[in-house]
C-alpha cells in the first residue's frame, strides 16, 4: 500500500511536470522547422508579386499551378522514397514510359472512333499500373539484389528512356476526347484545371497516409534506423518494394495528367522531371539520409520552384538564369535548414 501511494505521487508529480512544461525551443524547432520552407515560399511570392503584379492575378496563379501538377505526384512518391533513405532517379522516365504505353493501348482500342469514357478510364488504369510495375521492378532489384537505389534507378532511368522510344517514337494524338476534356477542364471560375486539383488531392490523401497511417510511420522508421525497424518485426524489404511501387504508380498518374492536358502522349514527357521532383523534396526539408521530411514541405518546395520559374519569366529574366536561380535556392534552402537543425540538436 505504501509502495502504491509512492508510485501514485510520482505519477501525479510527473504528470504535473508534463502539463506545466513549456515546449522547449528544441521541440519547437523540431515541430515547426519545416515551416521554414513555407516562409521562404511566402517571401518569394511577395517579392515577385511586388516586382510584377501579374503574379497575383488569375493568369499568374494559372501559370504557377499549371507548372506544378506534373511534378507534385512525382515529388510525393519521391518523398516516400527519400524518407526511407533511398532515391528514385527513374520517376521521369517512368512517367514517359507509362504514358506512351497507355497512349498506344488507347490508340489501339479506339480504332477509328472518336472516344469513349471506358477507354479513358482504361488509359488511366494502364498508365498507373505500368508505372507501378516499373516501381516494382526498381523495388525488387533494390531489395533482392541488394543494389543501391541510386544505381538501380539510374539503370531503369536509361532503360525506360530507351524503351519509351521503342514503344512509340512519335507522339500519339489519337486519345479519347474525354481524357482531353478532363485534362483541360477548368473549374472554380477558371482558377483551377482538373489535373491541378487531382495533384493537390494526392498531396492531401498521401499526406494523411504518411503522417497518420501505419505505412507512413514504418516508412519513417526504416529511413531513421533500418536495423531497429527490422528488429521491431517490420518486413523492411517488402515495405521498400511497396514504396517504390507507390513512386512508380504516382509517376504513371502524372503521365496521364500531362497527356490529358497536352492532348497527346509523347516520348518526350517526363524528361529530366526527376531532378525537379528531387529538388522539390530537398527544398521541402527532407533529409537524403532518410527519416526526416513531410509532404507539406514537398508541396511548398514544388510551389517554390514553380513561383520562381513563373516569377522570373514575369520579370523577363531569361530561361538560363531561371535554372541558375533554382540551383541557388536549393543550396540556400538546404543550408539554412541544416543550420536550424544543428541549433535544434544542440
Amino acid at each position: 500500500m505504501a509502495e502504491r501511494s509512492v508510485s501514485m505521487t510520482d505519477t501525479i508529480r510527473s504528470a504535473g511536470k508534463r502539463l506545466g512544461q513549456k515546449p522547449s525551443s528544441k521541440e519547437f524547432l523540431d515541430k515547426y522547422g519545416s515551416l521554414w520552407t513555407v516562409l521562404v515560399l511566402a517571401l518569394v511570392v511577395l517579392v515577385f508579386g511586388l516586382l510584377s503584379s501579374t503574379l497575383f492575378t488569375q493568369a499568374g496563379w494559372e501559370a504557377v499551378s499549371k507548372s506544378t501538377y506534373e511534378y507534385l505526384p512525382l515529388a510525393i512518391g519521391e518523398t516516400f522514397v527519400i524518407l526511407t533513405g533511398g532515391i528514385d532517379l527513374s520517376v521521369g522516365a517512368v512517367l514517359g514510359f507509362s504514358c506512351v504505353v497507355s497512349g498506344t493501348v488507347m490508340e489501339h482500342m479506339l480504332g477509328t472512333s472518336t472516344g469513349s469514357l471506358g477507354i479513358t478510364v482504361l488509359g488511366f488504369v494502364v498508365g498507373i499500373a505500368v508505372g507501378g510495375l516499373c516501381g516494382f521492378l526498381n523495388g525488387i532489384l533494390i531489395t533482392r539484389l541488394r543494389l543501391p537505389p541510386f544505381i538501380v534507378t539510374l539503370a531503369t532511368l536509361y532503360a525506360l528512356g530507351g524503351a519509351t522510344y521503342i514503344v512509340s517514337e512519335e507522339p500519339i494524338y489519337q486519345i479519347p476526347h474525354q481524357l482531353v476534356t478532363f485534362g483541360q477542364q477548368s473549374l472554380f471560375g477558371g482558377w483551377f484545371i482538373a489535373p491541378v486539383l487531382v495533384a493537390l488531392a494526392c498531396v492531401v490523401v498521401f499526406g494523411v497516409f504518411l503522417s497518420r497511417f501505419r505505412f507512413g510511420l514504418r516508412t519513417y522508421a526504416i529511413g531513421s534506423n533500418r536495423i531497429a525497424a527490422e528488429r521491431a518485426g517490420i518486413n523492411v524489404r517488402r515495405h521498400l518494394v511497396w514504396v517504390y511501387v507507390l513512386a512508380g504508380a504516382l509517376a504513371g498518374l502524372a503521365g496521364m495528367l500531362v497527356s490529358a492536358n497536352f492532348a497527346q502522349t509523347s516520348p518526350l514527357f517526363g524528361n529530366n522531371d526527376e531532378l525537379a521532383a528531387i529538388a522539390a523534396v530537398v527544398i521541402g526539408g527532407a533529409s537524403l539520409f532518410g527519416g526526416r521530411g513531410n509532404l507539406l514541405g514537398t508541396l511548398c518546395g514544388t510551389f517554390l520552384i514553380a513561383v520562381l520559374t513563373v516569377g522570373l519569366v514575369l520579370v523577363q529574366v531569361t530561361a538560363f538564369w531561371q535554372e541558375v536561380t533554382i540551383g541557388v535556392v536549393i543550396v540556400l534552402a538546404v543550408s539554412v535548414d541544416q543550420l536550424l537543425r544543428s541549433v535544434s540538436q544542440r
Partner: protein, 271 residues
C-alpha cells in the same frame, strides 16, 4: 567440482518452481568453430541473473539464440515449461521474450511512443483501421502509463528519441521491453554507453523491473555492477557454463577468476 556444487545450490533455491525460460544443452557452431557447447540455463520469476564471460566466450551468441535472432545447432528452449522453437526475434517477442539491444534499436526520428509501438502499432477500429489508421492518442497514453509504471521520466512522449539524452534513450529501450515483455527481459550491455549517474538510473530501473516479477538476464562487462545487482551470476568460458555464483557469497575477484579460467584450473587441479 566447485562449479557443479554451486549449481546444485542454485537449483535448491528455486526448487519446485517452473522456470519462465529454460535452455537445455544449447550448442552452436559456425563451421568448425564451436561457439556454445551444451549450455543449460534457467530463469525464475523476479530474479536478476548476470551472464559474464570474456570476449568470445559465447555471451552474445547465447543471448541472440534466446532472443530468436540466431538458431541453435542443437538443444531445446522451454518457455513456461513448454518446448518452443524461436525462429525469429518476432517469434521470441510473441512468446514474451523481450531484448534490450546494446545499440538500443531506436529510431531517432520517431517519437517516444512510436518507438515503443513500432511494429505493434495500435490502429483504430473499422475499415480505416484495417488500412492502418493509427490510434496515436491511445499509443501516447499507453506509453505514458507504462513509462510511469516503471518510473521512467522523459518529459513528453511526443519528443523524438534522437533528442533525448543517452540515459533517457536507454530508459525508453528498457521501458519498451518492460511494456511488452511478459516472460523475460534480456539485456545486452545496457549500461556500457552511459555515464555513472545514468548507469545508476538504469540499475534502479532493472531492480524495479525484477520486483514486478520479470526475470532479467543481464549481459555485461561491468563486474562491480553484476556483483551488486544480480541474484545469480553465470560464467561462460569457451562456450561452456563453468560456474554459477551467488554474489551474496562471493567477491568480485572470485567472479574475475572464473571469467579468466583461473578458478577452473584451480578447481580441476584441486579436485
Amino acid at each position: 567440482m566447485a562449479a557443479t556444487v554451486q549449481a546444485e545450490e542454485g537449483k535448491s533455491a528455486s526448487q519446485g518452481k517452473t522456470p519462465l525460460l529454460a535452455a537445455r544443452q544449447i550448442t552452436k557452431h559456425y563451421g568448425s568453430v564451436q561457439a556454445l557447447r551444451g549450455v543449460d540455463l534457467e530463469l525464475y520469476p523476479g530474479e536478476i541473473v548476470g551472464l559474464v564471460g570474456d570476449n568470445g566466450a559465447g555471451k552474445s551468441t547465447l543471448v541472440n539464440i534466446l532472443s530468436g535472432a540466431l538458431q541453435p545447432s542443437g538443444g531445446t528452449i522451454l518457455v513456461d515449461g513448454d518446448e518452443v522453437s524461436l525462429n525469429s526475434s518476432i517469434e521470441a517477442r510473441n512468446r514474451g521474450i523481450e531484448t534490450v539491444y546494446q545499440d538500443l534499436a531506436l529510431a531517432p526520428d520517431l517519437s517516444v511512443w512510436a518507438n515503443i509501438f513500432l511494429g505493434r502499432e495500435t490502429t483504430r477500429k473499422g475499415f480505416l483501421g484495417w488500412l492502418g489508421w493509427l490510434d496515436r492518442k491511445a499509443m501516447s497514453t499507453d506509453t505514458e502509463r507504462s513509462l510511469d509504471r516503471t518510473r521512467i521520466r522523459i518529459g513528453s512522449v511526443q519528443s523524438k528519441a534522437g533528442q533525448l539524452s543517452g540515459g533517457q534513450r536507454q530508459a525508453i529501450a528498457v521501458g519498451r521491453a518492460v511494456a511488452w515483455g511478459s516472460k523475460v527481459i534480456l539485456m545486452d550491455e545496457p549500461t556500457a554507453a552511459l555515464g555513472v549517474e545514468q548507469q545508476q538510473r538504469v540499475v534502479e530501473l532493472i531492480r524495479t523491473v525484477s520486483k514486478g516479477g520479470l526475470p532479467v538476464l543481464l549481459v555485461t562487462h561491468n563486474l562491480p555492477q553484476v556483483h551488486s545487482l544480480c541474484d545469480r551470476v553465470l560464467v561462460l568460458f569457451q562456450g561452456q557454463l563453468i560456474a554459477e555464483l551467488f554474489p551474496a557469497q562471493c567477491s568480485v575477484e572470485e567472479i574475475v577468476s572464473w571469467i579468466t579460467g583461473a578458478a577452473l584450473t584451480r578447481s580441476t587441479n584441486g579436485g
